[in-house]
């Protein structure tokens, strides 16, 4: 399959792979913090831990990828005007990239200080 011909299938697969990671992360998160009152110190220490730090960044990436594929599908399905569609998709992509970089910055800063 060519790159273009396989892009629909790849999006379909990435949507499911990211969904599985999101689910696993949320279950792990709930398990780790079960029955605990989160304070700044425990929260900060947990995010600073290398394993949690990486898992959190991967979670943000999976979430944004998932949102990108799903949101793009919704825009393509309901916005019929091609021009408006491209504008919306571009704004959406830019927004997600900014959110991703913002998250990356916050989480990594905790990891190095």
């Amino acid at each position: 399959m060519s790159w273009r011909a396989s892009s629909g299938l790849r999006a379909w697969l990435l949507q499911r792979l990211s969904a599985v990671y999101i689910l696993v992360f949320l279950l792990m998160f709930a398990y780790v913090w079960r029955g605990q009152v989160i304070t700044y110190d425990t929260w900060h220490a947990w995010v600073a831990h290398p394993a949690a730090n990486i898992a959190l960044i991967l979670f943000a990436f999976a979430l944004l990828l998932h949102a990108w594929i799903g949101g793009r599908d919704v825009i393509i399905d309901y916005v019929k005007s091609v021009a408006l569609r491209y504008v919306l998709i571009s704004v959406f992509a830019l927004g997600l990239i900014i959110l991703g970089l913002w998250t990356l910055r916050s989480v990594l800063l905790v990891g190095v200080t």
């Binding site: 499911r16 700044y40 929260w43 900060h44 799903g70 949101g71 998250t103 989480v107 905790v110």
Partner: protein, 130 residues
């Protein structure tokens, strides 16, 4: 073919009876869009909570306010419905629960469980707790 076709076209989606599986599908989209719209707020809260002690306290105060708790219940509904419906879709991908009877039953199950989770969250966040 006659050009004087006067049969009524009736496509008011609000008045066409949708099967429960179709309702589940559209709610999967609506819950997903709701969570996408909440992303900027969530990233803001995450970064603020990690900034310093004052930021964390601010996040705790924000999350404790009534409007945020109401939004929180809505978010719990969106998340639980989206997760459960997503699990159901993936099982369908593997032909699990693919027959019409089972698919309708699991669709009702997803609606019910998501609603129960939200009611529980509402009870914890608005009533019983604190």
């Amino acid at each position: 073919m006659s050009t004087t076709d006067n049969r009524p076209v009736f496509l008011n989606l609000l008045r066409i009876h949708q099967p429960v599986t179709a309702v589940l599908s559209i709610l999967h989209r609506i819950s997903g869009v709701l969570m996408i719209l909440s992303l900027p707020g969530l990233v803001y809260l995450l970064s603020l909570s990690l900034e310093d002690q004052a930021g964390f306290t601010r996040v705790a105060a924000l999350l404790g306010s009534l409007p945020m708790r109401l939004l929180g219940v809505l978010f719990v509904w969106a998340l639980s419905h989206h997760l459960l419906a997503g699990i159901r879709f993936m099982l369908l991908d593997f032909d699990v629960g693919i027959t019409r009877m089972t698919a309708r039953y699991t669709a009702w199950l997803v609606h019910g469980l998501a609603l129960m989770t939200s009611l529980f969250a509402g009870w914890v966040m608005l009533g019983g707790g604190t």
